[in-house]
Symmetry: C3
Amino acid sequence: MNSISVIGEHTLMLLELLATAAFALSGVIAALRKRLDIVGVCVCGFLAAFGGGTLRDLLIDRRPFFWVEHQFVLLGILALCVLSASLLKQRHLAWTHQSLQLPDAIGLGLFCATGVHLSWMTGQPPLVAMLMGTITGAFGGVLRDLVCNEIPALFRDHRPYALCAFAGAGGYVLVTWLGADARVAITTCAALTTGLRCLALWRNWRLPSQTP
Amino acid sequence: MNSISVIGEHTLMLLELLATAAFALSGVIAALRKRLDIVGVCVCGFLAAFGGGTLRDLLIDRRPFFWVEHQFVLLGILALCVLSASLLKQRHLAWTHQSLQLPDAIGLGLFCATGVHLSWMTGQPPLVAMLMGTITGAFGGVLRDLVCNEIPALFRDHRPYALCAFAGAGGYVLVTWLGADARVAITTCAALTTGLRCLALWRNWRLPSQTP
Amino acid sequence: MNSISVIGEHTLMLLELLATAAFALSGVIAALRKRLDIVGVCVCGFLAAFGGGTLRDLLIDRRPFFWVEHQFVLLGILALCVLSASLLKQRHLAWTHQSLQLPDAIGLGLFCATGVHLSWMTGQPPLVAMLMGTITGAFGGVLRDLVCNEIPALFRDHRPYALCAFAGAGGYVLVTWLGADARVAITTCAALTTGLRCLALWRNWRLPSQTP
């Protein structure tokens, strides 16, 4: 491996850790808004960070989970939850939430790409692999909202989020069918997902509402 | 296989697809009542249609899930969700819900019978197999209500639904103990469950309430 | 095995059954408060009694579940749910809840010890085993609250409960590292957890709240 690809590997790992931390912080914010205690904060942070991948692994029967294999990332995320819960005040929450949107979009792309790739490798059919990618990227937030006793934002805010991941996962399947190798397919999926999500945020896209 | 049994097989498959569609529509209705977006509609429809069987398979550690094995049924159900969400207006919901009660009762019977049979085949003890049949038939609706942030109707409407499935599953275990073969036991379970549910709807049976 | 250790085994089994019953009753109480029907009562009782261990087994991919292996305990717990739902009136609920705190603390200790031991035996890393112990002891109540459409008390009441279990599980890991055998480690975990929980109740300990 030459030095450029080593730098690439490290950049990717750094990006993934950054995205996991951003996901966890979204859980901490949701928990603090509901005035949960430190246990609730840690569970919400954990679910937001690792819930999507864990749900995918339960469904495709894959072990060990990421957080079992990487005990120190788990420890770091729990420490981040405790630390940020002590430092964040209620008036910081809206601002922090806002500033997380870019790392969150990057995380959506990376996790969706990992999810669709892992599912594809275990031989899931294309539509199922696309759903698994979407679940990996977007359903941590669903679990976070469910334990906060909210209808998941993913299901009601009429903003494209899961659909960006689903489209990105479709990109993976498409370029794989066209003969591209895994690295290209993963990059396509992550770039397409993150790009669509950023575009949706920037252009303020809304999903159509039901006519009354 | 003679032509009558071929017709029987096709009728059964058609009934199962019809019942799955009726379950999915109950999810679409619940989602539209909560004014969820298209992602929420698809998730609610998916959970109502496939959630019970998926929960059973997670518990008895069985793979692949029905919707992984039959990718095109999954695609059809998702298409049905998108289509019906576009067509159904708020004023149609009560009427649609009402007209789904018969196909829903048929689905309860069929899914309960499949669930208890599959669990029995994997060697679960009788009471567990009966619970698995009940979960297969009735817990898709529970998952649907949970993501809609409602106490599941199954737990609070004081109407016999899960109990019909549980009784039907008891019928499966009973006739199996009496020496009947699988086909007879499955038919008994489905007929008993659907019959009891229809009777409960027709006679307006209510479960006893707690004295205050 | 001499007669003293036989008495010990029987005492432990009796304690575990007592604790399972206390957990189930907490589910019955939560269900009756929400005026659920008999199906809701049984599901809440089941989840409170067996939910934590079942969630742990799903996560560490262990089968059969306790209630599948011990069908008669399952039958007994369901009978207890039906019976207590018929006998308990609304004005009894607060009193019953209060009198369950000691058996509940014993159950927290026993289930946490079992959970951390089983996870340790299947080779989970220390932090994961500690979380699994905590989940076994404390997450039955989380599932119970979620189906009752409440934010789980575990996440918002600012009382040490999960933290007692986590500390007790830490005790297991510590004495195991110091070379103690399994029996000593399990006893340490159970005693530490139950002791801390009783101390927290007696001294009315509260977790710190977020500064506004």
